[in-house]
């Protein structure tokens, strides 16, 4: 309980600092502060005057910040400088599209990475272990932007078995509600569900493979290390001495303890994945938060830029805290270690 409170408090403080940062960005960006904040230009005299009042722009900084925070929390994120569209409403389907990639990538990496890591640890020093660790190390050192381009050239251009970009062939006019195309096809009763689904999956597999290479290889290494670590413990030797079957030792003693270390690293994995997703979204024209953020930098669209930073950082923070909380809840010894400090 104390631990949970501690973590949540820390999360709250970080979020406040983050919002302070995005708030001050409005002052650091060139141009009019209120325009940077709301996307409404001074030429629109009426609207400008009304948002100036709404945002307490002439009050003291603390007062301005509190008003700013209120607007952020209630989803009033201003409008884009380029399209004049509401930033929050634009953001939600983009977040859906990004989450679709993130969730599927994490699933794939965990489903493949953890078992491979365990297997490598069990056959430590064997040829399979060497291949896996060798491949893991080399693919870990390949930059994502290069890998993405190479796989596009190979699978899409040379073999012609995957499309280059986008979520789905745009001729399938699947309405955008959640942003995640698989969910949208299902939600909206699209008239050609199977063809559309097939097409969407065909668009998905390449970016997911590119994205999951890094977390997967890291997961293999972490799992392998953790399992080897546990296998060297005295209680495993004791269990062997008591004559327990190998499979029982593995499922009852080794894996639960090894997973504790693995789960502890998931937050880090997620943060790395988030920095890669920006690159992958840009390369694959994926309509997600990452490409949105990059585009806003090119276009000097300040309201979107700060929204993008805010969403990204918040997502990373939330997932990290959630992982930590789960970790501490599932493995009480973690908490004890923390208190001992």
């Amino acid at each position: 309980m104390r631990y949970t409170l501690q973590r949540l408090l820390l999360l709250l403080i970080t979020l406040v600092l983050l919002s302070l940062f995005t708030f001050s960005l409005n002052y650091f960006f060139p141009g009019d502060v209120l325009t940077n904040m709301t996307g409404i230009r001074a030429i629109d005299a009426n609207q400008y005057a009304s948002v100036a009042l709404e945002r307490d722009i002439n009050a003291s900084f603390p007062q301005q910040y509190i008003t700013y925070l209120g607007h952020i929390l209630s989803g009033q994120w201003g409008q884009s400088l380029i399209t004049q569209e509401d930033v929050f409403q634009t953001m939600t389907p983009l977040l859906g599209a990004s989450l679709e990639l993130i969730v599927l990538t994490m699933l794939l990496s965990m489903l493949l990475g953890a078992p491979l890591g365990i297997y490598a640890a069990l056959t430590e020093g064997g040829s399979f272990d060497r291949i896996i660790t060798g491949l893991g190390l080399s693919s870990y050192s390949i930059p994502v932007f290069w890998l993405a381009q190479m796989l596009i050239l190979f699978f899409a251009v040379k073999l012609g078995i995957a499309p280059i970009s986008g979520q789905i062939n745009p001729l399938y006019d699947v309405p955008v509600t959640s942003g995640a195309v698989l969910i949208d096809i299902w939600l909206n009763d699209y008239p050609y569900p199977y063809a559309a689904l097939l097409d969407a999956l065909n668009h998905l597999w390449l970016p997911i493979i590119v994205l999951s290479i890094m977390p997967m290889t890291m997961l293999i290494r972490i799992t392998r290390g953790a399992v080897l670590d546990v296998l060297r413990q005295n209680y495993i030797r004791a269990a062997r001495a008591r004559g327990l079957k190998g499979s029982t030792i593995l499922t009852r003693h080794v894996l639960p303890n090894a997973m504790q270390q693995v789960v502890g690293q998931l937050g880090l994995l997620f943060s790395l994945l988030m920095s890669n997703i920006i690159i992958v979204e840009v390369i694959f024209n994926w309509p997600g938060i990452g490409s949105w953020l990059v585009k806003s930098i090119y276009e000097r669209d300040y309201p979107i830029l700060q929204a993008g930073v805010l969403v990204f950082a918040t997502l990373i923070l939330l997932v990290n805290v959630a992982v930590e909380l789960f970790h501490a809840w599932r493995y009480p010894q973690v908490r004890k270690e923390l208190y001992a400090e």
Partner: protein, 533 residues
């Protein structure tokens, strides 16, 4: 390698239904607005004008004559200072989720559409920025004194003076007709800005959705007054990266792409699945100086720079034979074109001498703004800027290359933040006037379209004389003088006249690159069977 592409695509008959009845055009950028009245960018015009709207009259570039559009007939009255248009009955506006028309197109819509840009007190005038760059810079706004409804299907337009380019300007992609009824509905709902975002027109396609950086989606207008479009669905898939556009064409994710990379044209043209077409483009690429900023306010400096750059080398490197060195603003295809000497000779020594006369023996440093996108007139402005940079270094002028995202780039240009810029102009109509007035007149400076920010009363006077005249031979002579004047003053240096290229899959037909104005998808269709290998 090519066989791999062939295997990757299933025959047309096996494609799911939405794919058979639609067409994907991979456009090079986002449309800025869905109302071409507000813009001059070719990207926006391609995406909107001919698809969503109709004009009073159309122009046939082949036969060089006007065709009836929403106006059935027209006559010039009162020595060419009044034009009477008889409008077409039984033309309906689009029925969409956000608007259901209760009446057909009539004179009220013409008045509404014209007064929007003509009358500063019109309720819609200030919506969308209140700038109508084409109408200001072409002089239509100052030309038309009054527009008058005679009856439901007759409209009179009164001009302040006779103008031989008037009809040509009305036939451009900008002079479109909006729905007055939709305008009134939006005013009542207090969201007038929607008129340019959720457009309603009379054109062959109905707007469905726009997702920035992703797609623009149109559906066929079944009740179009001419023959309806052949395709059910038209999608603009926004792909700013030229390499990616080409790859997507190879994989079949795009059916048609504009502005393929010239370097790889040959490679594309070889395959039996892909066809490259081109049209002579009435366009000119130029390097404009901001004549408001010293030292570019001195004609001597501008001419020095003009002689310092090796234009033929630039054209070889950038266009690879798909363009011609511009001798002046007018391209060869214009009837007013007069063969001249090749313009500014490449002569660095002369350039240095001129700089010395102007008082810059040591040279100076300047910015060159290079467009971030490919245009028909300039496929690679960045590279062109680098070549110019190298040429300028030879005469002691140090150039920095500056670029921004396209929309931001143009906004900043309009505000005059540049020293010099590599950009160009695509004519909207066949009249030679269109190469000067929208680009270099004082009115164009006010609308922000005069990239040289050049305003010269002598020049404007010449332009006025040229359009008041209606004999071709006289006009040709005047345009020769105008070219000569631009040459000596050098507010900008014409670089190249190019061809507009388009690459497409061979199972698409009926879409040719336009020689004037924007694309028109009405005739585009997909062949039932893929051609035999």
């Amino acid at each position: 390698m090519m066989t791999a592409f062939v295997q990757g695509c299933s025959p047309a008959s096996q494609r799911p239904e939405p794919l058979q009845q639609g067409l994907i055009y991979c456009s090079e950028g986002n449309p800025e607005s869905f109302n071409p009245q507000l813009v001059t960018s070719g990207t926006t015009v391609d995406a909107t004008s001919a698809q969503l709207y109709d004009r009073l009259l159309d122009y046939d570039p082949e036969r060089q004559e006007f065709l009836p559009g929403l106006a059935k007939t027209w006559h010039a009255l009162d020595q060419g200072t009044r034009y009477r248009f008889e409008l077409r009955p039984n033309v309906g506006f689009h029925q969409t989720n956000w608007f259901t028309p209760t009446r057909n197109f009539n004179a009220k819509d013409v008045i509404f559409s014209f007064e929007r840009w003509l009358d500063p007190t019109h309720p819609y005038h200030a919506i969308g920025g209140g700038r109508y760059p084409f109408f200001s810079s072409s002089g239509l706004r100052s030309l038309i004194s009054k527009i008058e409804q005679v009856d439901d299907y007759t409209v009179d337009i009164h001009l302040r003076r006779a103008d031989s380019s008037f009809l040509a300007n009305l036939a451009t992609d900008f002079a479109i007709i909006l729905s007055a009824e939709y305008g009134a509905q939006l005013l009542q709902q207090q969201q007038p800005e929607q008129i340019d975002r959720q457009p309603v027109g009379t054109g062959p396609f109905i707007f469905e959705e726009f997702r920035k950086d992703a797609v623009v989606r149109y559906r066929r207008n079944q009740d179009y007054w001419r023959q309806a479009a052949a395709i059910e669905q038209l999608v603009f898939s926004i792909t700013p990266n030229a390499n990616k556009r080409m790859l997507k064409l190879l994989t079949g994710e795009c059916d048609v792409i504009p502005y393929p990379l010239v370097d790889e044209l040959q490679q594309l043209a070889d395959t039996s699945e892909i066809k490259v077409t081109s049209a002579i483009n009435p366009s000119v690429a130029f390097w404009a100086f901001n004549t408001e900023r010293p030292p570019f306010n001195q004609p001597l400096v501008r001419r020095a720079l003009a002689h310092a750059i090796n234009r033929s080398a630039i054209i070889d490197a950038i266009y690879q034979g798909n363009a011609r060195t511009a001798t002046g603003m007018l391209p060869e295809t214009s009837w007013a074109y007069a063969a001249q000497e090749s313009g500014y000779v490449y002569d660095p020594e002369l350039a240095q001498e001129l700089l010395q006369q102007a008082g810059f023996p040591q040279g100076f440093s300047m910015d060159i703004w290079a467009m971030p996108v490919q245009r028909a007139y300039n496929p690679n402005a960045q590279r062109m800027a680098e070549l110019i940079q190298a040429d300028l270094a030879r005469i002691g002028v140090q150039a920095n290359i500056v670029s921004y995202e396209w929309n931001v780039f143009r906004q900043r240009l309009a505000q005059g933040e540049h020293d010099s810029v590599l950009i160009g102009w695509v004519a909207d109509n066949a009249d030679p006037d269109n190469f000067f007035r929208p680009v270099l007149s004082c009115a164009a400076k006010q609308s922000g379209n005069n990239r040289a920010r050049w305003c010269d009363p002598t020049f404007d006077q010449l332009l006025l004389r040229a359009i008041s005249e209606d004999k071709r031979s006289q006009r040709t002579e005047l345009y020769r003088q105008i070219e000569q004047y631009v040459f000596t003053q050098a507010p900008l240096i014409p670089i190249a006249n190019s061809l507009r290229f388009q690459a497409q899959r061979t199972d698409v037909e009926g879409l040719t690159p336009p020689s004037y104005g924007g694309l028109d998808f009405r005739q585009a269709r997909r062949l039932e069977q893929e051609p035999q290998q």
